[in-house]
């Protein structure tokens, strides 16, 4: 852990993550205005009162950006948790038990990985309706195969190791070996993939919002803000570029953490 924290890439990633979490948690204190309160000041350019200007309903863009981090982080982390909860057991069982279970699992995993995640998410979200909770479920459901595949690969290698053999020799059951011997040895790769899944989910949920299937209004959401601001790009570029940059920076942070742990 200490050795990991010395790498500049991971330091930048962690710093971004901490800032994002801090902003989201402290949103009520940091935001100058209520993010959903509209005013008669439509589409005003950046000014000392509204640092980033106001949107088409007269809402303060900075306040909406500050609050927008909350839903992004909830969706990203929530989806990664769901993906891990499904992916880890599937990967462990497929890798360790092998046989038909493995064949079935890899088949399902391969199909899922081949299909474009955004399109899958688009279809499912359209079916179940875009609420914050549903988005978490949908994105988790779309991302679990990657985690499962990684764990399966690790498990396959670990299954042949001496300590597993020793454990078998003293009569340990399969579930015990998986939980106590194999799972702890896959932790690092799970952590890496977890961070990458958060990055991917924030990316995808922003894209969904941009397409019009994100967290429903009036909840402040970066992707939806980008979409709304696009029509006024010439008038106030910050209206869409600022929330877009927020998505990019957050995804970048999680991506750095994920790739450097790996």
């Amino acid at each position: 852990m200490r050795e990991l924290l010395k790498r500049p890439k991971i330091l930048i990633g962690v710093a971004i993550l901490l800032v994002m979490v801090a902003i989201s948690v402290l949103a009520p204190l940091l935001a100058p205005y209520d993010p959903t309160a509209s005013s008669v000041m439509f589409l005003s350019p950046p000014s000392p009162e509204n640092w980033l200007g106001t949107d088409e309903l007269g809402r303060d863009i900075l306040s909406r950006m500050v609050y927008g981090g909350q839903s992004s982080l909830i969706v990203g982390i929530g989806a990664a948790v769901i993906a891990a909860v499904i992916g880890i057991p599937v990967g462990l069982c497929a890798g360790y038990l092998g046989g038909r279970i493995d064949l079935l699992a890899t088949q399902v995993i391969d199909i899922f990985i081949a299909l474009p995640g955004l399109i899958l998410a688009l279809i499912i979200t359209a079916m179940v309706g875009p609420t914050l909770f549903n988005l978490v479920l949908v994105l988790g459901f779309v991302s679990w195969p990657r985690i499962a595949r990684l764990i399966r690969g690790q498990t396959l290698a670990l299954r042949e190791s001496v300590f597993v053999e020793a454990s078998k020799a003293v009569g340990a059951r399969a579930d015990w070996i998986m939980l106590k011997h194999i799972w702890p040895n896959t932790m690092r790769i799970v952590a890496a993939q977890f961070a990458l899944t958060v990055a991917y989910s924030i990316f995808t949920s922003a894209s969904l919002s941009f397409l019009g299937l994100g967290v429903p209004p009036p909840t402040p959401d970066w992707g939806a803000m980008v979409r709304a601001g696009f029509d006024y790009l010439a008038l106030n570029p910050g209206m869409s570029l600022a929330p877009g940059a927020a998505v990019a920076v957050t995804v970048f942070g999680f991506y750095l953490i994920g790739t450097s742990i790996k």
Binding site: A114, V226, A234, L241, A248, L256
Partner: protein
């Protein structure tokens, strides 16, 4: 070779059936009765039942699925609920747009990533820049990149038109003008991904004996890089190209929407948002089929180029 393709096809067939059936059933069960959707809120239950019967929506889902597949093979994909055009016609119009976008972007991404990563001069300067660019291009969402491009080149500099699609028939210049920004935007992610894959392989190949021999013969560094290392490290990129093309056939949903390109992706998003059931189903099926077939093609090409690998 043919047996290899045949075996892969056989392997892909159950996947195709499974996934398309899954899509069909879930669309059918989640979206409710299409007849009710078509008739609107004020329709009486009798009218809905009547139309359901006429259109065959009251049959078991499995029968509906089979008849859908049968019709699809006959080229009949139904009619859109919103535009009332045939779905086949709508898709035929969108497909060339998507294919052009996809092929040009992948081409651009391949040439730029392979080229930049094979350069032998200015390595110290170029490598770090390429690394940063590749990470940025993979983490910054498409809509953000595209929007920045529109802001800089259309709004600020005024060099290029911002959005819209102009067909070839209206002149090559205008056509290209409209397609430059979307192609560059779309290629960004693939540039990053190809760079990662290519560079890892390139660095491994560079250490191999035949490269040392080539150098010992006195070949220039440039020639060694492009003639000896490049052909031997491009394989993983080719596989990736196949997979990416398959995924892009489903349309670059975000890029097409941002730039108002009338491609498959735009068609799909519009259909999903307006619950245009036949269009959604047809495009969804098309995406699944093209992804599975393109993956298969990538595998086959891989074996063609590299006989060391035999499919098992």
């Amino acid at each position: 070779m043919l047996t290899v393709i045949g075996r892969r096809l056989l392997w892909a067939a159950p996947n195709l059936v499974l996934v398309t059936a899954l899509l069909f059933f879930s669309v059918a069960s989640f979206f409710g009765n299409p007849a009710a959707l078509m008739l609107g809120q004020d329709a009486t239950p009798e009218a809905i039942a009547d139309l359901s019967h006429q259109m065959g929506f009251d049959r078991p889902v499995i029968v509906q699925y089979l008849s859908w597949v049968g019709n699809a093979f006959a080229g009949n994909l139904g009619r859109s609920y919103t535009t009332h055009q045939t779905v086949a016609e709508m898709m035929a119009r969108s497909l060339p747009v998507t294919i052009e976008l996809a092929v040009l972007s992948i081409l651009l991404a391949t040439v730029v990533s392979v080229g930049l990563n094979s350069l032998t001069w200015g390595e110290r300067l170029i490598r770090p820049v390429v690394t940063v660019l590749s990470i940025v291009s993979m983490t910054v969402p498409n809509f953000m990149l595209g929007m920045c491009a529109i802001f800089v080149f259309s709004v600020y500099l005024g060099w290029l038109p911002s959005v819209g699609w102009v067909p070839w028939s209206r002149g090559l210049g205008v056509h290209l003008e409209h397609i430059v920004l979307p192609v560059v935007t779309l290629s960004a992610y693939y540039f990053g991904a190809f760079t990662l894959v290519y560079r890892a392989e390139y660095q491994a190949v560079r250490e191999r004996l035949f490269v040392r021999v080539a150098r010992a013969k006195g070949l220039s560094a440039h020639r060694v890089s492009f003639r000896h290392i490049l052909p031997n490290s491009i394989l993983p990129v080719i596989t990736y190209i196949g997979i990416s093309l398959g995924q892009l056939m489903g349309g670059a949903v975000v890029t097409e929407t941002l730039f108002s390109m009338p491609g498959i992706g735009k068609l799909f998003v519009t259909a999903v948002l307006s619950r245009d059931y036949p269009v959604m189903l047809a495009v969804g099926m098309f995406i699944i089929v093209s992804v599975i077939l393109m993956n298969l093609l990538a595998d086959v090409v891989y074996t063609l180029i590299n006989p060391q690998i035999r499919l098992n």
